[in-house]
């Protein structure tokens, strides 16, 4: 008994809320909402404490007699609302009484469990039982879900009385007509209570709450009808509310009609719906996450293309500058690959854009134009270029941080690798898998995983000898050393090659192609080497293995991008005249374009050789039945690398997102057919939501951050080239905004407030920091609330 006393004291200290709930009505919604939330947050501690005490409790009893009366009578002590009748179906959800139905279906009539449960009930005092009755395991079940589920079951019972147990938690007792009458009246009360709980809220809140209730559609429609028909009252206030809700409904309806008519755009947003469904049906959520990520990147690039296309490319396309090199009019194949020649003087690259301020007339007639200056609408190309890039990056940043916050909110446990059997059994079935062979494979995977976990728990931890552990440590250190050495040597090789070409001052086609090919080659081959090292290391936990592999790949990509940025922004941009380059920005843009294309070519080759031929080889030569597994982590990191290059190149080649869109489009179909033909689902579990969070995080932090920092550095410190581009003859790019301001002040004095706004907002760093702070707080509240 001492145990139970100490138990109650501890719980009282930790959770003061729970004490008071013993006396309250169990059906009061707001308290239970809080309770549920506090239970969710303090879930660990009270329950682990409970489990320890329970074990002590059962151990202390040597034997006990099964007391069926006691088991019947348990509802008494566990019902804080004091309804003593055991045959009342309401107020006491079945969650408390697994053995409280002695006369009807009791599937589990083993005397062991009854004995154990009655033993437990014997050993606690009334105070303990009262505290227990308000613990999360009993009261959370009593809060909205179980209450509403109970209500739903009773609503169904009364709609079709000889209904049986299809919907009710409690089996219907035939022949208890008195109880039926009581049931109907209490059922009405329950419905009233549900309706009243919703009625107090606003329309949106109420609908949201109704949606979260696990009731059937007919019940929900009825409750909604009852709850919201009472809104229309006679008072002025309620009439105003009614007007507002009518207006809102009208706007929503108009919006939906608009959406239906713009189905072309919508069908683009839902692009690849059918292929993805087929993929998920066959391979499950893991492989699907790669293709979803690809679709997300496609949307990003589409957005970038629209922004730059509207504000930068289109105005320049209307007013083409005079071409200064007329013999580069034909487009050859090699030039398409290299980005030189005809393309270097096209809209594709920075050098094409002028620094003029085109003045177009709003009336369209030239004599009137020249006379009236206020009719002239100046379009300053430099300012447009500058502001478009800044705004594009800003919007991308907002979208990335928002999606990152959303996915962080969903998956909080990132590196939990300990296999939890109950979680595996309850949560591992993927309902999206529909093909018969895939279902069979899924069953096989689950069975293997369960057997592995069971053998681990049965045999316990592997007792490794000191020698084995030392051996393993040495192997791991060697593997890490090999990987780091390979990354370092790759980066050094690229750096030396770049320096050699710069020193020679020759930028011939073959050398440039060679550089791009070497970079892409390293990106392609080194991950295979990392996989080999990981196979040698033989780590136990699959999660740690995946994270180590992702980290190595990420390190490789970051170091290569770092070396390339150094080459472009420091060496080439630092002394452009030194290298004999008229237009270094176009040169850098061409390098990025080339890198993207050659990366794509290498990916196609790898897909063909690495996946298709390897499958044929392993089937014919090695006689293996298993197809290779689709390496999700590696493919996603390749996508992220490509996207980093696109963001870096947006400043130097405004049409680069178009190239990336075409590349992603072709990549989707290629990878899809490759996966369908050559690969099969992995045996290892893939924690999809955690991995998606990790990928968005990697997309935001190393990838976008590198691009944003290099663009800011370019705008701030680097002198634009004087011979080409929209920022020629300026010391820094920021000056273009000053030019726009001056021009606006001259031509449209009425818009001077805009320039004042611009100078006080954008050029004041304090405002930027405070808006960032507000933005982060908004995300935090959106996540928590």
């Amino acid at each position: 008994m001492e145990h139970s006393v100490s138990f109650s004291v501890n719980i009282c200290e930790m959770d003061p809320d729970y004490e008071n709930l013993g006396e309250d009505e169990p059906d009061e919604e707001p308290i239970f909402q809080d309770l549920r939330e506090s239970a969710a947050s303090t879930q660990r501690s009270p329950e682990t404490l409970q489990m320890d005490i329970f074990r002590e409790c059962t151990d202390s009893q040597s034997d006990g007699t099964p007391d069926t009366e006691q088991s019947d009578g348990t509802p008494d002590t566990e019902q804080p609302d004091g309804t003593p009748d055991t045959e009342q179906p309401d107020g006491t959800p079945d969650t408390e009484q697994p053995d409280g139905t002695p006369d009807t279906e009791q599937p589990d009539g083993t005397p062991d469990t009854e004995q154990r449960s009655s033993l437990q009930r014997h050993c606690w005092s009334a105070a303990t039982q009262k505290v227990l009755s308000s613990m999360p395991s009993r009261t959370v079940g009593k809060s909205s879900t179980a209450v509403t589920s109970q209500h739903s079951s009773q609503l169904h019972q009364n709609q079709a009385s000889p209904h049986g147990s299809a919907h009710s938690f409690r089996p219907v007792r035939d022949g208890l007509s008195k109880v039926d009458v009581k049931e109907i009246s209490t059922e009405e009360n329950k419905k009233e209570r549900l309706v009243s709980s919703i009625r107090g809220l606003s329309l949106g809140e109420g609908i949201r709450k109704l949606r979260a209730m696990p009731l059937s559609l007919t019940d929900k429609m009825e409750i909604r009808r009852l709850a919201f028909s009472g809104i229309a009252g006679n008072t002025l206030l309620s009439r105003n509310i009614q007007c507002y809700s009518h207006l809102r409904a009208y706007i929503l309806r108009m919006w939906r009609q608009c959406l239906f008519s713009c189905h072309i755009i919508l069908s683009f947003l839902q692009l690849w719906h059918l292929p993805m469904k087929r993929l998920s049906g066959r391979f499950g959520t893991g492989v699907l996450s790669y293709f979803l990520f690809l679709q997300t990147l496609l949307h990003f690039n589409f957005l970038l293309l629209i922004i730059t296309g509207l504000f930068v490319v289109f105005p320049q396309a209307i007013n083409p500058p005079p071409l200064y090199d007329s013999h580069l009019n034909n487009l050859t194949g090699l030039e398409l690959l290299m980005g030189t020649g005809y393309l270097s003087q096209s809209l594709m690259f920075y050098g094409y854009y002028t620094n003029t301020i085109t003045k177009t007339c709003s009336t369209g007639e030239s004599p009137v134009c020249k006379a009236d200056r206020s009719q002239i609408v100046p379009y300053s190309m430099p300012a447009a270029y500058f502001l478009t890039i800044v705004i594009a990056f800003f919007i991308t940043c907002i979208i990335l941080v928002y999606s990152m916050s959303r996915s962080f909110g969903r998956s909080l446990q990132v590196l939990k690798s300990k296999g939890n059997l109950a979680v595996q059994v309850f949560c591992s079935w993927d309902f999206k898998v529909s093909k018969k062979s895939s279902v069979r494979l899924h069953c096989e995977n689950i069975s293997n995983r369960l057997k592995e976990l069971l053998s681990e728990t049965i045999s316990g931890e592997d007792k490794k000898s000191c020698k084995q552990r030392l051996c393993r440590l040495i192997v791991r250190l060697l593997a890490w050393a090999a990987c780091l050495a390979s990354i370092f040597s790759g980066a050094i090789a690229v750096h030396h090659m770049s320096e050699a070409f710069i020193k020679r001052r020759s930028f011939s086609d073959t050398e440039l192609l060679l550089l791009s090919a070497v970079v892409s080659g390293f990106n392609l081959l080194l991950p295979g080497f990392f996989n080999l090292c990981a196979w040698l290391e033989k780590r136990d936990s699959p999660n740690v293995r995946i994270c180590v592999s992702i980290f190595r790949n990420l390190l490789l990509k970051v170091s290569i991008v770092g070396v390339l940025c150094y080459r472009w922004l420091w060496r080439i941009a630092g002394e452009p005249g030194h290298h004999g380059l008229k237009c270094w920005e176009s040169f850098v843009g061409q390098e990025l374009y080339r890198l993207l294309l050659i990366d794509f070519i290498f990916t196609v080759l790898y897909t063909f050789i690495g996946e298709f031929l390897w499958r044929l080889f392993s089937k014919r030569m090695l006689k293996r039945n298993r197809k290779p597994v689709f390496d999700i982590a590696r493919n996603v990191l390749e996508l992220i690398y490509g996207q980093t290059l696109t963001w870096l190149g947006l400043l130097f080649a405004p049409l680069l997102p178009a190239v990336q869109i075409i590349k992603l489009f072709v990549l989707f179909y290629m990878k899809k057919s490759s996966v369908m033909l050559n690969c099969q689902a992995s045996r290892k579990p893939w924690r999809a939501s955690q991995m998606s969070t990790l990928f968005i995080f990697i997309l935001c932090f190393p990838s976008f951050l590198v691009a944003a920092v290099s663009v800011i550095y370019t705008f701030w410190k680097i002198t634009p080239s004087s011979g080409c581009g929209p920022f020629r003859n300026l010391t820094t790019v920021f000056q273009s905004s000053k030019l726009l301001r001056q021009e606006l002040e001259i031509s449209h004095p009425a818009l001077s407030w805009l320039t004042w706004l611009y100078s006080s907002l954008v050029e004041n760093p304090l405002i930027l920091f405070s808006t960032t702070g507000v933005f982060l707080m908004v995300i935090y509240f959106h996540n928590q609330v």
Partner: protein, 144 residues
Amino acid sequence: MGTTASKLGKDLLSEYQSNPFRERICHVFSTSEDKDGSLTFEDFLDLLSAFSDSATLEIKSHYAFRIFDFDDDGTLDRGDLEKLVNCLTGETDDTRLTPEEMRQLISNILEESDIDKDGTVNLSEFQHVISRSPDFVSSFKIVL
């Protein structure tokens, strides 16, 4: 598949799905009086709504609990858990667990999830286990 007045019978549905839980799903969402697991249009809507993207974790865990509760008594006891594991591991002999493994697995599950030690897993304990897995919401989804 039919008009809103028609009913989807169980035999018709089994052609469309090889999901091992298809019968339980039909049974849980069916409101027919014949208890044959047939679905009206509204039942079908309920099914899709529970399995959709916008259903909350509560709704999904509630329906998952009912699907796994093979004997419809409101708790998951040993028999339910055994049938659940058999559904998960499949029909063939080499994927099924041995009786010894099954016993061990079920005791482990009950040890981990049964908080009040009554030998069964009730709805709130089930929801507590589910809340530890972030993948549940994405795997408890059917896409049309």
